[in-house]
């Protein structure tokens, strides 16, 4: 007969306020196999844990049930407790009396009954608990960072600074991301490029960082400490080793119709190009879709003019496979496409532009050389209307969230406009001004008072395209008046949304994303950079919209977490995983197909002397213990350790006899 100890926690008044703890203890004492039952105010506290340890020793207990909060909270705590008393840590069961009882019920008598039942179930289960042994795995001491914007750059630099090797993968031809497209940064108005480009160079020069641009992650296998990743290095058609970055090829390329992604489609680019002059690496790529040679077989101008003989039309995509211990996801954001806003012209009115397009105009490296010109006729705009919350806080467009940066970037752009053209007028339509960062509110005030930007609280109902101007109709809800503004240009503060391919990557990595497509952190407050997949971390706007300071802070936090993981000598893995009984396995592959983690292998095994069959085998370090294979197995050949059929049957018996 087992000797089980039952320990019921009051959790202050959290549990004891609803559940009659003494009744639970009394009932537990009568259960088969229970040698002792007691309660205590805070079982997780030091005296509480000592109470458990001493009782185990005095009463020679071999199993423990703790009735307390959710096992997500303190299962590990109590496992370590009983381990200190000399028991196998897996001889523990938790009855969740807080989240499952006291926090969700208010009627005391029935809550107590439920608590009694839950403890009875835990006692029934613990009776069949086996002593499980911990599993250890090696750690590959290298990190992969996906995305080469400011988030990925900062994370890569910080991980390398901790002394670990990093591979930084960027899908575009250059690192730099969104920040490299910006002109000034709020609220300090430092030049974005001036603070970013040194970091880009630092990445390129760091001997611990391997930079893979124009590359994408295609497949991810493995688990924390041992990820195996396939990366597709797309054909650049320019040799990385031979190219000297002189730019003659771009200059001479006759194909110039393609809209420049880097310039937010307000200018064109060549078929062989670097996104911007400060690109890292400063090596062009040939965009196959717009190249004349690839379309017609004729041209080859770039090959002819290249002084280094670096152009190579025969290059092909190359898949490289590498192992990493940790993965940082920093894929960033896309801008909301305002073509769904019919009232603002379905994105078809030339002088209605996005904030990013204005940003490229103000930028001295941009296509207009730093001058704001309206796209329809190149005229300097006098009156510019800014509309905030386009694709943010708009349920009708399926974007209920706040994009967090638009209030600030609109204020910044209005300031730059006023600075650039002192005779211009800037009018901002806003819903609320959200300026919660350091120095942000002061910045907004300065924009309104010193720079005379007019803020109107209300929405724009419609933009009318007139012959040589736009007519903006809206409402000023503070004065209660309808307003009509004759404007030369309208700038939409389009919101942030996850990258189009973010969900595909989430599925490759098995990480979650929320209803808006942003990746889900493990805990919104206490684990903001971890994901539910151990060894995969988040940084930047792929997790939620954020500004540059927050992104950099989160990236450094992620790097610290990666450092903590990689600094371990070996990795402890939960032993609650599936196990195959080869004697019962028919080799039907149901489990193989069902497993979402690829943790099952089919292997020829000698199941009895002289009898070799192909049966399922669990890859110990890949299995997450989800139990899908158990449900799928017709032969009952697979069982989940810690959650065996036998244990669950004991619990079902308890339930069915009540």
């Amino acid at each position: 007969m087992s000797k089980t100890g039952v320990f019921i926690c009051h959790c202050g008044s959290n549990i004891a306020g609803v559940v009659a703890v003494e009744k639970v203890v009394e009932s537990a004492k009568t259960l088969p196999g229970v040698k002792v039952a007691m309660d205590y105010k805070y079982m997780c506290s030091d005296p509480g844990q000592n109470l458990i340890i001493n009782t185990i020793k005095e009463q020679a207990l071999d199993r423990v049930v703790v009735g307390s909060c959710s096992p997500r909270m303190h299962e590990n705590t109590f496992r370590m407790t009983i381990e200190r008393a000399g028991l196998n840590p897996y001889r523990l069961e938790i009855a969740n009396l807080r989240e499952h009882v006291s926090w969700v019920h208010s009627e005391k008598a029935s809550a107590t009954d439920k608590a009694i039942k839950l403890v009875e179930l835990a006692v029934a289960k613990v009776r069949r608990n086996e002593p499980l042994q911990k599993i250890y795995a090696e750690i590959e001491k290298r990190a992969l960072v996906i995305g080469g914007g400011i988030a990925g750059i900062q994370a890569a630099l910080d991980i390398a600074a901790n002394g670990y090797k990093v591979t930084l993968v960027e899908r575009e031809p250059s690192i730099g991301g969104r920040m490299s497209q910006l002109d000034k940064t709020f609220p300090t108005m430092d030049c974005s490029a001036c603070i970013l480009t040194p970091k880009m160079v630092a990445v390129a020069q760091n001997k611990d960082i391997t930079l893979l641009t124009y590359a994408e992650v295609e497949q991810v296998h493995g688990y924390v400490g041992n990820f195996e990743v396939n990366i597709n290095k797309k054909a650049r058609f320019v040799s990385m080793t031979k190219c000297i970055g002189c730019g003659v090829c771009t200059e001479k390329c006759p194909s110039k119709k393609r809209l420049s992604e880097f310039n937010a489609n307000i200018a064109t680019r060549k078929a062989i190009y670097t996104p911007f002059p400060q690109a890292v690496p400063n090596i062009p790529v040939i965009d196959k879709d717009s190249c004349m040679y690839f379309a017609t077989g004729k041209c080859k101008v770039c090959e002819k003019v290249c002084p280094a003989g670096a152009v190579d039309y025969t290059q092909e995509d190359e898949i490289i496979t590498e192992k990493f211990g940790a993965i940082v996801v920093a894929t960033g954001y896309d801008l909301y496409d305002h073509s769904s806003y019919g009232e603002y012209g379905y994105g078809e009115i030339p002088d209605v532009i996005t904030g990013l397009q204005l940003e490229r105009m103000i930028n001295s490296g941009g296509p207009t050389g730093g001058h704001i010109k309206r796209p329809s006729d190149g005229k300097e705009p006098e009156t510019v209307v800014f509309i905030q919350c386009v694709g943010s806080r708009d349920d009708a467009k399926g974007k209920p969230y706040c994009s967090r940066v638009c209030c600030m970037y609109t204020a910044k752009q209005a300031l730059l406009l006023r600075e650039h053209y002192p005779n211009s007028k800037a009018i901002v339509f806003y819903m609320d001004i959200r300026a919660a960062g350091k120095g942000y509110e002061e910045f907004i005030q300065r924009v309104q008072t010193e720079y005379g930007v007019l803020y109107l609280r209300g929405r724009v109902s419609r933009i009318y395209e007139k012959k040589d101007h736009l007519l903006v109709k809206g409402v000023d809800t503070l004065s209660g008046n309808q307003v009509e503004i004759k404007a030369d240009m309208v700038v939409l503060a389009t919101g942030l949304k996850p990258k189009k391919e973010a969900q595909n990557l989430a599925q490759l990595l098995h990480i979650g994303y929320d209803q808006n497509g942003f990746y889900t952190e493990l805990h919104p407050k206490l684990a903001p950079v971890e994901t539910q997949i151990a060894g995969v971390y988040l940084a930047g706007c792929c997790q939620s919209p954020k500004d540059i300071p927050d992104t950099v802070a989160q990236s450094s936090a992620t790097a610290a977490k990666v450092g903590a993981l990689l600094s371990k000598e070996r990795l402890e893995i939960e032993p609650m995983i599936s196990e195959v009984n080869p004697l019962l396995c028919s080799g039907c592959r149901m489990c193989y197909n069902a497993c979402p983690y690829g943790a099952i292998e089919m292997e020829d095994t000698e199941i009895r002397r002289g009898e070799i069959r192909c049966v399922a085998k669990v890859l110990v370090s890949v299995c997450k213990g989800c139990g899908v294979c158990v449900a799928g197995c017709y032969c009952k050949a697979i069982d989940l350790k810690g959650w065996t059929d036998r244990q669950l049957m004991e619990q079902i018996k308890v339930i069915s006899y009540c």
Binding site: G342, I463, K467
Partner: protein
């Protein structure tokens, strides 16, 4: 012949008689048989739905029920009637209690199997439209108004702020639509026509002025009230130009070779005869 239950509504026998005349004329040509609903009653217009939800649903339901019994789709050329029929259809399908209440009032349950169409949709889907005379060189601004486009669930076009269907019709007749015209769904002043005429003058005036600014030769409409605001009030608005307002059915009629008087064009305040002769369409 494509058979459809026809709900003309009150305007088409009175202020918008020419809309009714041109509708019947072209439908015969296009292979559409309009079967007028027997003893049809008022659609409820704006009055019913600001007074009582039950009345707003029950009045159109009488006509919907007739069409359903004969297993026919129902159509109306008037935007207001179409809007009321369509919204009643949507509400009755969604709200079981309302459906039961209405059934009690009108003495029969409308099950919601009738397709509710605007006349334009019938022509587009089932009409055999082959213009005899192309409307070459005629710049047409299509004015949709509010009832065809709002609320979004009644709008036959996905682009509710910039619908295209009438513009596409103009193109298919060989005419030249005024594209990206922002005033096409702007309010004309609607029922304020009688109570606060100054509002109509301002709103309809903006529409007319912008159409002229974009070099439109004429404006086409699909709503009797829009027509009366834009056409009958045009002289009062005191513009320094005049622009003919046609029903889209009249435009189709011209392309099918019908004459000026046949299509009831003489009934308009702003006569289109000069324009149409100039373009060689008469």
């Amino acid at each position: 012949m494509y058979k459809v239950a026809y709900f003309p509504g009150c305007s088409l026998d009175s202020t918008a008689k020419e809309y009714g005349i041109s509708t019947r004329l072209i439908c015969k040509d296009l292979g559409i048989e309009l079967l007028e609903i027997h003893a049809w009653i008022c659609c409820g217009a704006t009055t019913a739905h600001i007074t009582s939800e039950l009345m707003a649903a029950a009045l159109p339901a009488m006509s919907l029920l007739q069409a359903e019994k004969r297993n026919l789709p129902i159509c109306s050329p008037c935007s207001a009637c179409f809007s009321r029929l369509k919204l009643a259809d949507i509400d009755l399908k969604k709200n079981v209690q309302l459906r039961m209440d209405v059934a009690e009032v009108i003495g029969g349950e409308y099950k919601g199997t009738t397709e509710v169409l605007h006349l334009w949709q019938v022509i587009q889907k089932y009409g055999n439209l082959k213009p005899k005379k192309e409307l070459k060189g005629l710049k047409v601004a299509s004015y949709y108004g509010c009832l065809l486009t709002r609320p979004p669930e009644v709008c036959p076009d996905e682009r509710i702020e910039d619908p295209q269907f009438l513009d596409n019709l103009v193109t298919s007749l060989g005419g030249e639509p005024v594209l990206r015209w922002n005033y096409k769904t702007q309010c004309c002043g609607a029922a304020f026509s009688l109570t606060k005429t100054d509002i109509v003058h301002r709103l309809s005036g903006e529409i007319l002025k912008d159409a002229r600014e974009r070099d439109a030769d004429c404006i086409i409409v699909a709503c009797p009230l829009c027509h009366s605001n834009l056409d009958a009030r045009q002289a009062e608005i005191k513009l320094n130009f005049s622009i003919p307002i046609l029903y889209f059915t009249q435009l189709i009629g011209l392309a099918l070779g019908y004459g000026y008087a046949e299509l009831g064009l003489r009934k308009h305040f702003v006569q289109a005869r000069g324009l149409l002769s100039l373009k060689g369409l008469l």
